[in-house]
Symmetry: D2
């Protein structure tokens, strides 16, 4: 957390990726795995119940867990180790049975992304609603269309708002197409080849789709979702740069209530929210270029490509959350008029 980071981070989305939330997701996976394997007769019901009871209240030894993360490059070996130590000996092998770190961590990511998408989808809807309200108030305001940074021909503020709206609507539509493909279990066991007959039940328990096979190394759905994040934040950035340019004193086609103040010039009202949206759009675009590097995921599991995803995706989601929160604020605080 940095002094200015609330400008481009979303605390609700950040929460989803915090250690407590991630451990909770991993424990939820282990519980559902045991339950679904017990339903298949692969482990005993007693084991599944004992695992579920442990996971419901388990608090890891975080110091040892962090040591494990440093050593193993991920949380699962030590977490499984701590959980097994807390289980009666007879049930230890039933935990994390025929599973692997990637099944747990990727499935947990899907639980996190499902929640993040819920927030983003709802905020995108709010921005569209705010845009409709703005449109009701100002659609007929006469303004000057400008192309290539020069006056071109008159238009109405409603023309601008229609141009802003379409990509946001397409964003919602794309998300509807993308979600069922993205939000699926990770299954496959140590090298992604286990047919995992418990998958259907596991999917029911976690309310995630069941993919035809593991996607340990096929990260295109994730990369496509990263692209969606950048499409949304870039489309918001376009609205923002327009409003910032309309709000130039010499143009005066937009007025933003509650503009940012200056420490030196008391008369100023800066379009700070708009500027931040531009910064987010540009940063997310660059991060997208980084995320797509991880498509080149060598062999049956690449620790490098996988860690590259971890470094980038939660940030992109958080930025996009802040972007849509800010877009909504901006749309609710701007007024249009016919300029100077």
């Amino acid at each position: 957390m940095r002094l200015h980071s609330a400008l481009w981070r979303d605390s609700k989305i950040d929460e989803l990726f915090e250690p407590a939330a991630e451990i909770s997701g991993l424990l939820r996976f282990e519980t559902a795995l045991a339950r679904s394997q017990a339903a298949q007769g692969l482990i005993s019901d007693a084991a599944a119940t004992t695992i579920a009871e442990l996971c419901a209240t388990f608090r890891p030894d975080m110091v040892a867990l962090n040591d494990g993360i440093s050593r193993d490059g991920m949380v699962m070996p030590k977490l499984v180790n701590q959980l097994r130590a807390a289980l009666p000996e007879k049930h230890r092998d039933a935990l994390h049975f025929r599973s692997t770190s990637q099944d747990a961590i990727d499935t947990c990511l899907m639980l996190q992304l499902r929640a993040a998408i819920g927030i983003l989808e709802s905020r995108l809807g709010e921005s569209l609603a705010s845009l409709d309200i703005l449109n009701k108030g100002f659609a007929d305001v006469a303004q000057m269309g400008r192309t290539r940074m020069q006056r071109a021909l008159p238009l109405k503020a409603g023309d601008r708002m229609a141009a802003w709206k379409a990509p946001l609507q397409r964003g919602l539509k794309r998300l509807a197409t993308l979600k069922p493909n993205l939000l699926v279990l990770q299954i496959g066991g140590p090298i992604g080849t286990d047919p995992s007959p418990w998958a259907i039940r596991l999917g029911e328990l976690l309310e995630l789709g069941v993919p035809p096979r593991s996607w340990h190394t096929a990260r295109d759905e994730l990369a496509n979702f990263a692209s969606w994040l950048s499409l949304v934040s870039g489309s918001a950035g376009k609205i923002a740069v327009d409003i910032a340019m309309m709000a130039q004193n010499d143009i005066g086609e937009a007025a933003i209530a509650g503009g940012g103040r200056s420490s030196a010039m008391h008369y100023k009202s800066n379009p700070v929210q708009a500027e931040v949206l531009v910064a987010i759009g540009r940063c997310n675009a660059a991060l997208l270029g980084g995320f797509h590097q991880s498509l080149i995921h060598e062999q049956e599991r690449s620790g490098a490509a996988w860690a590259g995803e971890w470094m980038i995706l939660p940030d992109m989601a958080s930025h996009t959350g802040a972007c849509l929160r800010g877009l909504n604020q901006l749309l609710l605080s701007v007024e249009f008029n016919s300029g100077r």
Copy 2:
């Protein structure tokens, strides 16, 4: 053209973006525009016919046209000017009527992308077919699964090929969803607000979809297509890095017929095709990050954001064409065995 550029460029796709092809597309647009406007009674049939006849045989003065491009930042003002000079005075105003440079250039881009997508789609199909043939030959070959660059558990070559196949298949499916939204007319006139009643007829003539409104400044469909290009080349890069690693002398699970030679070591057989696919995947990912910057497209037309697209998209398409050509070659020239 550089000495090595055939490795990562596709001459068939490059041809689509060469000056002759682009001028041909622009003339096709002007012809169809005139025809469709004549059908609406907005210009005379005689004018439309004269424009069509001129465009069918017109060869621009390229020296003057290039001067125009330098001055105007795009081809249309001078091209329209040259065309008008070649028309009888009475039909001059009928040319490019209620249109604008962006309508012409973006619609022409759609004609180019349609052809490029045809090539890419067909090559993706070929790669999938080659993968099926490879799978028939080698699915049951026992190999060693490797995670995090260490031996993990045995698998079959068919397991690897299944992991490679899924993202390519999803690529085809995504393309089917994406095409009707992408391949649409650009209409809207000088500032994107003209309702363009001739659009339906224009769409029929050019066999392009008719969008609900102009997308002069809403570039999300293009950016989503750029992302598709990177998804495909990244997925090919994953196959390539796997094959290069399997072909390491010390592993010996893959043998590539016709491997690259060294100028110094005559015994070597280098997996050069695989290496190039990795390079393309990484370059396209970086270019994607650049392309998405252009989502932040200010006002009613941004010369900066638009030129940014021009700089990047044809290269990404060409790289992806070379990538799929190379992927097919690689899949046709590799053999799998059980290693050392």
Copy 3:
């Protein structure tokens, strides 16, 4: 903070950018500004002393400050406001006199970067020292040189280490050239044009260089430093990928003590530190592409370009810190031998 983020973040560098540290740096700037302006007779000594005393103990109202940040897009307007409210009325105007938010925030960034560079420089030195120790132990080990992922000709482990060492040494040398140009005051007042006659004294007090003029909008030194961060992490990534490839079971030229464990396969020893270094190198490269977007800094202060820097630079510095910490660990835990 995320469960895995200690892998790629450095807590010592992160601390430098936390709110408490940043506020402390900003207060240090205001104190030194007042002192240096008093030395010029621009404000009274009494005012400077009162300001200094206040800043030495001031604890901002963080709730109100965070509200101010949201509203103003940066911390200074509200922080100056809170400080002035805590000053006797007669000294209020002497605070932040002829200054501006950017003077304070950029100068504070220099204090932060100076400390971060100290850490990075020292770690780079440690990695070089560890490499020398490794070289003493293993320089003569016979290994196989591999080009284009195929066996080429024999070499010594010392040849590899010499290739690894040179870019790290150049990194130190580049840093020595870069530091005096980078670590300078930001001066200039509201629009960067104030000659700031107090600059020499201010530079002495903060132990920062005095630039010939303000660099409010000329961000090339910062972008060059971002590039340095990526050069270092990319050079470390090269060492890491080499060690991971040497440590492949089938090659066996490197053995890493304390390798990462698997949750499913107890016999594995994963080169997790090496993999993380590769991930950091790739992520920093992408972030560099994002940072350089901020070179295009419009007018006398771009809130968008400036916020873009804030989003990226502390992360790149933190990643590089983790990278050098990890590189040192890796070099201290690896052993070389002649392979299988």
Copy 4:
């Protein structure tokens, strides 16, 4: 070559990377290699003279050469093969003796970059000279300083020009530091370990520096030069965005002679040169992010990382050439005044 690509490409720099120029550079390398090895007594003077005579007039069979490039992933194996076939049998082994493709191609790149840097350095000097002329004419013009896209305080046009000038001057200075480290021979033979006792003479013949050891896999100097290209084009982009904003009709602080025309609106004068400079700055920044990926260059030669450099660096150099040409034009065609 595309219709619009002259906007962002520089034909003089492109020429340096065309097949004819590259082959000429490679032949020059082979000639100088033979001469310098003969001076050491490693090959006979007769062989060196015969090789030099052949290289002076040799025209490769381009069809076969291009086949070789496709197969080998680079030009050298086939080129050496063709050259040897044209030599008397007794001198064949003397050609490319103890050398390798990378020694030839990288050294040739240095010859190309030296020429490209000459062009860039001279253009940067011209832009600085044009800026001085502009400053003489308009330094005292009163304008309005704008921060965060809002009017702030008055300034002089000279204040703006001083802010533009500094990073260009630093660019020249950085280039002077960077050149002697960058423009060096590549030596080392097949796996980069050959001490190459002929290096000093080879460096004299090619007028390139002699590095302490081969940099086959240590690409930091190249990546640092790529960063320099982006620093320059980003700094030009800042000037350009300022001029485009000053030239807004509603601000009117800049007038650009010979502005771009519109195909639809005859009254417009578009700041097309400025817009292109912004596009180049953004594209180069993204390409820089791609180039730095190649720092992670595995083993003794990575075909993937090396090809990644080939894909990107000549484009960045060409874009920067076009950028500086355009910057100079822009500075020569703009006039400043006090606005509306």
